[in-house]
C-alpha cells in the first residue's frame, strides 16, 4: 500500500461519510456545510487521478458557487436567526423507488466497467482540455455558453421586473 | 461664501466636471475616485514623516499649567474653619467638624498670621464625588483649600478616596468635640466652666491622616507645583 492508495482510501472515505451526513443530518445547514467536505473529497480524488484542472474546477464551481448559493438560500429564508432550521423527511417509500433504481444502475456500471488499473503519469491537462473544448467540442461548448447567457438574461429580467413594480 | 474659501486657499467649490454623455460621466467618476484617493494618500504620506503629536506618557509629561484643577488639596494649617467651602460645594463632598477651644486654651497662630480660633477636628473630602468646579477654592478666605495639578491618584477602592485632612485622630476629635459641647452646656447652665486640662499642642505629635492611602500620604505638590 503506497502513499497514493492511502490518499485514495482517506478521501474516498471522507467523501462517502460526509455525503451520508448530508443525507441524514436533521439540520439543513449542517447538510449544506458538510457538502463542503464532500466536494473537497471528490476534488482530492480527481487530483490523485491526475485530473488537476478538473479538481480545481470542482472546487471553484461547486464550493465557490453552488455551495454558497445553497447556504445563501437557507440563510435568506424568513427565520434565518433561528438556529434550529430542521428538515422533514416525507414519503420515504415513494422516494426509494427512483433513488434505488439509479443507485442500482450506478453499482452495475461500476461492476461491469473495465477500469484502467495503471495511473497515468502526472501530466498537464489544461492545454489539452482547452484545445478539445475550442476545437473538437466547440458546438457543445458554445451551446452551453448560450444557455448560460440566456439564464443570466432571464435572471436580470426577473430581478428588474420586481424592481419596476416596487417603484410604482 | 466664495471669497472666504478662496482666502483660506480652499477650492471655491469643489465642482466636479459633469457630462451629459453617460460614458464620459462614468470615466469622470472613476477618475475622480482614483484622484481623490491619491490626494488623501498624499496627506497621510506627509504625516508619516512628521514628529508625533503625542508624548510617551509615563516617561515624558505634558506641561500642566499650575492653575489646572485636577484635585482638591487642603492646607489644614491655614484653615480657619469658616465652612465657606462646605457651603459652596455643589456636590456636598466636604465634611468639616469644628470645635471651639475650651476657655484658656490657646491654639496658636496660623502660618498666615491669623489666630487659630477653632479646632478643625475633622476635614473630610470625598474625592470620588468631586466635580472639579473649583468653587471651594474661590470662596476660601485663607487660601487653605485649593486645586492642584496632581491627576495621578488612582486608588484600589472608593473608600480610599475619602480623605481626612485634619491632624486630629478620631479619638482626639471626639475628645475636643465633647469638650466643646461640655463647655457650651456648662455655659448654658450659666455657671463658669471648670477649667479643663489643657489640650496639648497638636504640632509635636502629628497623627497621620486617618485613612491609609499611600497616594495621599505622599507629599503633594503645592500650588506652584513641582511639576515639569
Amino acid at each position: 500500500m503506497n502513499f497514493q492508495d492511502i490518499a485514495i482510501l482517506f478521501f474516498g472515505l471522507l467523501t462517502i461519510l460526509s455525503a451520508t451526513f448530508v443525507t441524514f443530518s436533521p439540520k439543513i445547514l449542517y447538510s449544506a456545510f458538510s457538502l463542503l467536505f464532500t466536494f473537497f473529497g471528490v476534488a482530492a480524488l480527481y487530483l490523485i487521478l491526475s485530473a488537476d484542472f478538473l479538481a480545481a474546477t470542482q472546487v471553484i464551481v461547486y464550493v465557490g458557487g453552488i455551495l454558497i448559493l445553497i447556504i445563501f438560500g437557507v440563510l435568506l429564508t424568513a427565520r434565518i436567526t433561528n438556529l434550529e432550521i430542521l428538515e422533514q423527511t416525507q414519503q420515504r417509500f415513494i422516494a426509494l423507488l427512483p433513488i434505488g433504481s439509479i443507485g442500482l444502475g450506478l453499482i452495475l456500471l461500476i461492476l461491469f466497467t473495465n477500469w484502467p488499473i495503471n495511473l497515468l503519469p502526472n501530466e498537464p491537462t489544461t492545454a489539452t482540455i482547452g484545445k478539445k473544448l475550442i476545437l473538437t467540442y466547440v458546438i457543445a461548448f458554445e451551446a452551453s455558453s448560450v444557455l448560460l447567457i440566456a439564464a443570466l438574461i432571464g435572471a436580470v429580467r426577473l430581478g428588474r421586473e420586481r424592481n419596476d413594480e416596487n417603484v410604482q | 461664501m466664495a471669497e472666504m474659501r478662496t482666502a483660506l486657499g480652499m477650492p471655491i467649490t469643489h465642482q466636479t466636471k459633469t457630462s451629459k454623455n453617460p460614458i464620459i460621466q462614468w470615466i469622470l467618476d472613476v477618475w475622480e475616485g482614483f484622484y481623490t484617493v491619491l490626494v488623501g494618500m498624499g496627506v497621510t504620506w506627509r504625516h508619516f514623516f512628521r514628529k508625533p503629536f503625542t508624548v510617551q506618557y509615563p516617561h515624558e509629561k505634558l506641561n500642566i499649567p499650575k492653575q489646572a484643577r485636577q484635585r482638591v488639596h487642603v492646607d489644614i494649617d491655614l484653615c480657619g474653619g469658616c465652612l465657606q467651602c462646605d457651603k459652596i460645594c455643589p456636590a456636598g463632598i466636604i465634611k468639616i467638624v469644628t470645635a471651639k477651644p475650651v476657655a484658656g486654651e490657646d491654639l496658636g497662630v496660623r502660618p498666615n498670621g491669623k489666630r487659630r480660633a477653632l479646632h478643625i477636628a475633622e476635614f473630610t473630602i470625598d474625592h470620588s464625588k468631586c466635580l472639579y468646579c473649583g468653587l471651594c477654592e474661590t470662596v476660601c478666605n485663607d487660601d487653605a483649600i485649593y486645586m492642584i495639578p496632581d491627576f495621578q491618584y488612582t486608588t484600589r477602592s472608593l473608600e480610599q478616596l475619602v480623605v481626612n485632612y485634619s491632624r486630629y485622630s478620631p479619638e482626639e476629635r471626639d475628645r475636643v468635640v465633647a469638650a466643646a459641647a461640655a463647655e457650651k452646656a456648662a455655659k448654658q447652665a450659666s455657671k463658669p466652666a471648670v477649667p479643663q486640662t489643657k489640650v496639648s499642642d497638636p504640632q509635636p505629635n502629628i497623627p497621620s491622616p486617618s485613612v491609609d492611602s499611600d497616594v495621599f500620604n505622599e507629599k503633594c505638590p503645592g500650588p506652584d507645583g513641582e511639576f515639569k
Partner: protein
C-alpha cells in the same frame, strides 16, 4: 408645506413587498455599539439590510439635572450645566448664565462679553472637530478623527490655561468669569487660530472631497426644511436644510451683533440640500466663521475687572420666570427658570438641541441601509449627556 401634510411616523411599520408580509428582524443597535455616540439604543426593524423603522430609546445617561437644580443655589448650578453637553461646556455655561442674568437684570462689561464669545466660539470649534472626526469614524475613516482630536487638544490646552479644566470648565459665571486671561493667553489664542486655519484644507483633502466620502454621505438622509422645522431641529442640522436661522444673528446676545460673520447654510453642493454631506459641510464652514469671530473679539479687547458684577449671594432673587435661548454647536439651548425669590430656583427646564434633533431620526432613517443609518446618526451629531440630561 403646511404641517398637516408632513408624514409623521405613527406606530411600527412592517415590511410589505409584493404582497408578502415579511417578518421584521429586530436589531438592537446600542446601548453599546461603536457608532451610537454614547449610550443611545436604537431599535432597528430591518428587512435584510434595509431599515424601515428606527426607534431611539433614551435615558441611559439620565442624571436628573433639572431636579438637582431645584436644590442648589443659582451659582452652584453652573458646574452642573457643564455636564449637559460635555463637548461644548462653555456654551452650556453661557446659556444658563445669560438666562440667570436676564432674571437678575445684570449687565456685564465689554471684556466679559468678549471673552465669553471667545470661549464659546473656541468651544464651538472644538465641538465641531469632534463632530467631524466621529462622523469620519462612522463612515470608516479613522485618520481624520485623530487629526481632529489633535487640533481639539490645542483648544483644550487654551481652556486649561484660562480656567484650569480641560472639559468641564465652570468658567462663565453669573455676572462675570471665573478667571481673567492675560495678554500671553490672547497671543497664544491668535497663534492657535493661525495654526488652525490651514488645517481645514487637510480635513477637506482627506475627507470632505474624497469621492468615497461624498458617495457615502451625499443624497443620504435628506432632511427637507419643512420637516426640520416641524421637528424643531436647530443648529447645523437645521441650517444644512437651507434654513437661515442662527440665534447669534437673529436674536443676538452677548454682543454677537457687533461681529461680522456669515450664517452657513447647506447648498446641496454634492447632492440634495439637507443631506448628510451638507450637515457635515455646514460644520466645516462654521468653524471658519468661528475663527473669524474669535479674531474680531480678541481685537483690542478692553481691560476691566471681570468679577465686578458677580453677585455676592442669591438671597434676594426677583420672583418670576425667564426663558433665554442661545446658539450652541448643536443648536438652540433654552433655559426656562422659574424663581420664587429664594436662593434656589423653583424649577428649571432645559430645551436641549440634541434631543430635538434626535427626534427626527425615525423620519430620516426610513428605508435606509444600516450603513446609511450610521451616517445619519453621525451627521445629526448628538451628545447623549444633553439628550438624556
Amino acid at each position: 408645506m403646511p404641517l398637516q401634510e408632513i408624514e409623521i411616523p405613527l406606530g411600527i411599520r412592517t415590511p410589505n413587498t409584493d404582497g408578502i408580509v415579511g417578518e421584521a428582524m429586530v436589531l438592537n443597535m446600542g446601548p453599546q455599539h461603536p457608532s451610537t455616540h454614547g449610550v443611545l439604543r436604537i431599535e432597528l426593524h430591518t428587512d435584510g439590510e434595509v431599515v424601515f423603522e428606527a426607534i431611539p430609546h433614551l435615558g441611559y445617561l439620565h442624571r436628573c439635572f433639572e431636579k438637582i437644580c431645584e436644590g442648589l443655589p443659582y451659582n452652584q448650578i453652573v458646574p452642573y450645566t457643564d455636564r449637559l453637553d460635555y463637548l461644548a461646556s462653555m456654551n452650556m455655561n453661557l446659556g444658563y448664565v445669560l438666562a440667570v442674568e436676564k432674571l437678575m437684570n445684570i449687565e456685564v462689561g465689554e471684556r466679559v462679553q468678549r471673552l465669553r464669545v471667545v470661549m464659546a466660539e473656541l468651544n464651538r470649534i472644538a465641538s465641531h472637530l469632534v463632530a467631524l472626526g466621529t462622523f469620519g469614524l462612522d463612515i470608516g475613516a479613522t485618520t481624520p478623527f485623530l487629526y481632529c482630536f489633535r487640533d481639539r487638544e490645542k483648544i483644550l490646552d487654551l481652556f486649561e490655561k484660562a480656567c484650569g479644566a480641560r472639559l468641564l470648565y465652570n468658567y462663565i459665571w453669573i455676572g462675570g468669569l471665573a478667571r481673567d486671561v492675560d495678554e500671553n493667553w490672547i497671543n497664544e489664542c491668535i497663534e492657535f487660530l493661525d495654526y488652525f486655519e490651514p488645517k481645514i484644507k487637510e480635513y477637506n483633502d482627506l475627507l470632505s472631497f474624497n469621492k468615497i466620502f461624498i458617495e457615502r454621505t451625499a443624497n443620504i438622509g435628506v432632511l427637507p426644511p419643512e420637516v426640520a422645522i416641524a421637528y424643531g431641529c436647530t443648529g447645523p442640522t437645521l441650517r444644512a436644510s437651507g434654513v437661515k436661522w442662527d440665534l447669534r444673528k437673529d436674536e443676538p446676545y452677548s454682543g454677537y451683533e457687533k461681529y461680522d460673520f456669515n450664517i452657513c447654510v447647506g447648498e446641496g453642493e454634492k447632492g440634495t440640500i439637507g443631506d448628510c454631506w451638507d450637515r457635515y459641510w455646514v460644520r466645516v464652514l462654521e468653524m471658519v466663521e468661528s475663527v473669524k469671530i474669535v479674531r474680531q473679539a480678541l481685537d483690542n479687547i478692553p481691560q476691566e475687572d471681570i468679577s465686578a458684577k458677580i453677585p455676592k449671594n442669591f438671597n434676594k432673587m426677583p420672583v418670576g420666570d425667564v426663558y433665554f435661548r442661545t446658539e450652541t454647536p448643536r443648536g438652540e439651548i433654552g433655559f426656562y427658570i422659574m424663581s420664587d425669590g429664594t436662593k434656589t430656583p423653583y424649577r428649571i427646564k432645559v430645551r436641549s438641541p440634541a434631543f430635538c434633533n434626535l427626534s427626527v431620526l425615525p423620519v430620516l432613517a426610513r428605508d435606509q441601509l444600516i450603513a446609511d443609518l450610521v451616517a445619519i446618526v453621525g451627521s445629526i451629531d448628538i451628545v447623549l449627556g444633553e439628550v438624556d440630561r
